[in-house]
C-alpha cells in the first residue's frame, strides 16, 4: 500500500523540523551563542542608569610616584596576562637632562621601573589608560560594531562580536588597545565598568597610594572631577586628533603625547 502522508506524519515531521530548526539556526554558526536571558527591570534599564551621567577621569600627574601598583592590580582584576606585553593601563617615566633631552620609558608597562643613575633636571611619571573619547576613532572603524560607547561615556568591546581584525588597535591614537593574547579579541581599559555599575571604583583608582587617579560624573558640576577640571590647569592627550578624550591630566608637561 502506498504510504500516505497522514496528519500524524505531518505533525511529527513539522515538529522535528521545528526542533532541529530551533536548535541549529544558521545564525548560531556565526553569531555569539550566549545571549543573556536576564530580564531588565524597566526602572533599572540601561538608559535610566545612564541618565544624567558621564564618567570622567582626572589624573593628578605630579602626585604619581611610579609604583605601578595600578598596572599590576589592573592586570589581575581584568584577566590580562601578566607575562605578555599588553596593558590596559601603564605608567610612563619622563626624564629631562640638562640639555633638554627627554628620555621616556615604560619598562614592562611600568612594572619594571627601577631607580636610575644620572642627573636629570626634571623627572616625572604619567599614568596612561583608555581616554574613553567622546568621538572614539576605535568605534568608528570597527567593521562589525563590536566596540561601542555606553550612554554614560565608557567605550566597551563586545567579546562575542569582535572578529579580532585589529583595526581598532591601529585606529587608537593613544596605543590603549591590544589584541588579547588568550581570547584573540580586542581588549582595552573599561575604567572597570563592571565595578562602576555596582557602585565601586575602578581598581587602579582604589589601589593608588597617592590618590593620583580620580573618577566621577562630569555632568554633575558638584563632583570632585568636575571641580578639578574647572579649577586646575588640565589638558587632554593629542587634542588635535579630534577624539575629545575624557581623561584630564593636571599639570601635564607639554612633552607628553
Amino acid at each position: 500500500m502506498a504510504k500516505v502522508f497522514s496528519r500524524r506524519d505531518f505533525v511529527v515531521t513539522a515538529g522535528t523540523l521545528l526542533a532541529v530548526g530551533s536548535v541549529l539556526p544558521i545564525g548560531s554558526l556565526i553569531l555569539p551563542p550566549e545571549v543573556s536571558a536576564e530580564p531588565v527591570e524597566p526602572a533599572n534599564s540601561w538608559p535610566d542608569k545612564w541618565n544624567g551621567k558621564e564618567w570622567g577621569f582626572v589624573v593628578d600627574t605630579p602626585k604619581c610616584i611610579g609604583c605601578a601598583r595600578c598596572v599590576k592590580a589592573c592586570k589581575e582584576e581584568n584577566g590580562v596576562p601578566m607575562d605578555k606585553p599588553v596593558f590596559r593601563t601603564w605608567v610612563e617615566r619622563y626624564m629631562e637632562d640638562t640639555n633638554g633631552q627627554v628620555e621616556i620609558e615604560s619598562p614592562n608597562g611600568g612594572l619594571d621601573i627601577s631607580s636610575v643613575e644620572g642627573s636629570y633636571t626634571k623627572e616625572f611619571f604619567v599614568p596612561k589608560l583608555c581616554n574613553q573619547c567622546k568621538k572614539p576613532a576605535c568605534v568608528q572603524v570597527c567593521p562589525v560594531g563590536a566596540t561601542y560607547r555606553t550612554g554614560d561615556g565608557v567605550v566597551l568591546v563586545d567579546r562575542q562580536r569582535c572578529i579580532g581584525c585589529g583595526y581598532c588597535v591601529q585606529a587608537c591614537p593613544y596605543g590603549a588597545r591590544f589584541i588579547h593574547p588568550v581570547l584573540h579579541v580586542a581588549d582595552k581599559c573599561t575604567w572597570c565598568y563592571h565595578r562602576l555599575v555596582k557602585g565601586m571604583l575602578p581598581v587602579c583608582v582604589e589601589v593608588c597610594p597617592t590618590g593620583v587617579r580620580k573618577i566621577g560624573n562630569i555632568k554633575d558640576s558638584a563632583s570632585t572631577v568636575s571641580k578639578l577640571i574647572k579649577q586646575e590647569p588640565v589638558r587632554v592627550l593629542k587634542p588635535e586628533m579630534g577624539t575629545q578624550p575624557d581623561v584630564f591630566y593636571i599639570s601635564l608637561d607639554e612633552v607628553v603625547e
Binding site: 570597527c142 581584525c165 583595526y167
Partner: protein, 407 residues
C-alpha cells in the same frame, strides 16, 4: 626598539598576511584594468591577453581574502562584516565590494566563454561534456545574434568593472589612508597611490604570467603584445612613483611636527626596503630599462628581457611597497618618540613560509582555472588579431594602426 614606544605597540600587530592582502588585491585590480584596455578601450595589441587577464584576475580574487581570514583573531566570525556591518567602518565595505566585484568578474568571464562552453559540451565526452553543459546554464544559443548580445553585455560588464576595480583597490588604500592615528598612513593620496601601484603590479604580473605560460606551452611570445604591456607599465609606473614621491616631498617640505619621525622611519628603519628596494630597484631601474625595449631595431629577445626583467623588479618593488606601508607604519610609534622592531619569523606568527604559501596559492588557482577555462587564443582568434602587413612597421611586425576588424 629605539626611543620610546607605547607598551602595547612593542609587537607589530599587522604582519606579513596583511602585507599580502593589498598586494594580491592590487594584482586583481591591475589585471582587470589591463583586460579593460582591450575590452573597453579597444587596444587590440592586448588581444592575446583578453582572456588570460580576466582569468588571472579571478584566480587572484579567490586568493585575496585568504590572508585576511588567516589573520583574524576570530576567523569563524568573518562573515559578520557582511551580516552585521558597521557602516562608519571602511573595513565593513570589504565583503560587499569584494562580492560585487566577484559577481561582475564571474559574469564577464561567463559571457566571454559561453560560446566555448556550448561548443565544448558537444565536442568533449563524458564528464567534461556534462561539466561544460552545466556551465552553459542552459543558454545554448550560439547564433550570431546571440553572440552579438553576449559581446555587448560583456562590454557593459567590463565598463562596470573598471570603476569596481578602482573602488576595490582605492578602498584598500582608504583602509590605511583614513587612520589619523598613524602619521605614515594618514593621507588622502593613499587610495590613489594604492590604485596606481595596483595597476603597475597587475601589468607586471601579466607580463610574467604571459611569458611563463608561452614558455610552458612552447609558443612564441607576441612581441607587439609585450611592447604594449611595456608601454602601459612604464606610464603607470611614472604616475605611481610620482605620487609616492610628491607625498614624501610635501611632508618634508611642510616639516610639521611628525616629519622628523617619518624621516627617521624612511631613511633608517625601513631605509633599505624603502629607498633600496621599493624606489631604486622597483621604480628607478624599471623606469630606465623599460623604454629601452621600445627602440624599434631591437631584437625580439632583447625586447623580451627588457620587459620581463623590469616586470619582475616591479613586482618585488610593489610587494615591498606594501610591506613599507603596512609594517613600516607600525614601526613608528604613535608616541612619535621611537620605533619598534619587526622580526621575521619562518613559521609561527604569520611567518615567511605561510605567507609564501598564501602568495603562491593564487598561482595554483590560476593553473587550475586555466585548465577549466583555457585562456589561450585559438588559431581562428589569432587571425582576427593579426596586423595587416601593408601598414605594419619595421622588422618586428609591430603594428601601428590598422587591423583586420573583428566580425
Amino acid at each position: 626598539m629605539s626611543g620610546f614606544v607605547y607598551p602595547n605597540e612593542v609587537e607589530v600587530l599587522w604582519r606579513l598576511f596583511i602585507v599580502l592582502y593589498p598586494y594580491v588585491t592590487g594584482l586583481v585590480a591591475g589585471a582587470f584594468i589591463v583586460s579593460s584596455f582591450y575590452h573597453v578601450f579597444g587596444d587590440r595589441d592586448l588581444k592575446p591577453l583578453s582572456r588570460l587577464s580576466l582569468v588571472a584576475a579571478l584566480a587572484f580574487l579567490f586568493g585575496a581574502p585568504l590572508p585576511l581570514l588567516a589573520h583574524l583573531g576570530q576567523p569563524l566570525r568573518a562573515l559578520n562584516i557582511m551580516i552585521t556591518p558597521h557602516f562608519t567602518s571602511a573595513m565593513a565595505g570589504f565583503g560587499y565590494i569584494y562580492t560585487f566585484y566577484m559577481i561582475v568578474l564571474l559574469l564577464e568571464i561567463w559571457f566571454m566563454y559561453r560560446k566555448d562552453f556550448v561548443v565544448w559540451s558537444t565536442e568533449k565526452n563524458g564528464f567534461a561534456a556534462r561539466f561544460y553543459g552545466l556551465l552553459t546554464l542552459g543558454a545554448k544559443d550560439i547564433s550570431q545574434k546571440a553572440l552579438d548580445i553576449d559581446h555587448r553585455v560583456m562590454k557593459v560588464l567590463a565598463g562596470i568593472g573598471i570603476p569596481a576595480a578602482c573602488f576595490l583597490h582605492g578602498y584598500v588604500g582608504f583602509i590605511f589612508g583614513s587612520i589619523k592615528a598613524n602619521a605614515w598612513w594618514s593621507s588622502p593620496l593613499m587610495p590613489i597611490i594604492f590604485l596606481l601601484s595596483a595597476i603597475v603590479s597587475g601589468v607586471a604580473m601579466l607580463v610574467v604570467v604571459y611569458a611563463v605560460s608561452c614558455k610552458i606551452r612552447r609558443e612564441p611570445i607576441k612581441i607587439y603584445c609585450l611592447r604594449a604591456l611595456n608601454r602601459y607599465l612604464w606610464v603607470f609606473l611614472i604616475f605611481a612613483a610620482s605620487l609616492e614621491l610628491i607625498e614624501v616631498l610635501q611632508l618634508g617640505y611642510e616639516g610639521k611636527a611628525e616629519w622628523p619621525a617619518i624621516s627617521g622611519l624612511i631613511t633608517q628603519h625601513i631605509g633599505f626596503s624603502y629607498i633600496g628596494i621599493q624606489m631604486a630597484m622597483g621604480v628607478l631601474i624599471p623606469f630606465i630599462l623599460l623604454p629601452i625595449a621600445r627602440i624599434k631595431r631591437l631584437s625580439d629577445s632583447m625586447v623580451k628581457w627588457l620587459t620581463i626583467f623590469p616586470s619582475v623588479l616591479v613586482l618585488i618593488g610593489v610587494l615591498t611597497m606594501r610591506y613599507n606601508v603596512v609594517v613600516g607604519g607600525q614601526l613608528l610609534s604613535k608616541s612619535m618618540a621611537g620605533y619598534t622592531n619587526f622580526g621575521f619569523s619562518w613559521f609561527s606568527n604569520e611567518g615567511v613560509i605561510p605567507a609564501l604559501v598564501l602568495l603562491v596559492l593564487p598561482v595554483g588557482f590560476l593553473i587550475i582555472l586555466a585548465k577549466i577555462l583555457p585562456p589561450w587564443m585559438r588559431p581562428e582568434d589569432e587571425l582576427e588579431t593579426e596586423p595587416v602587413e601593408e601598414v605594419s612597421t619595421g622588422t618586428t611586425g609591430y603594428p601601428t594602426s590598422a587591423y583586420v576588424m573583428e566580425k
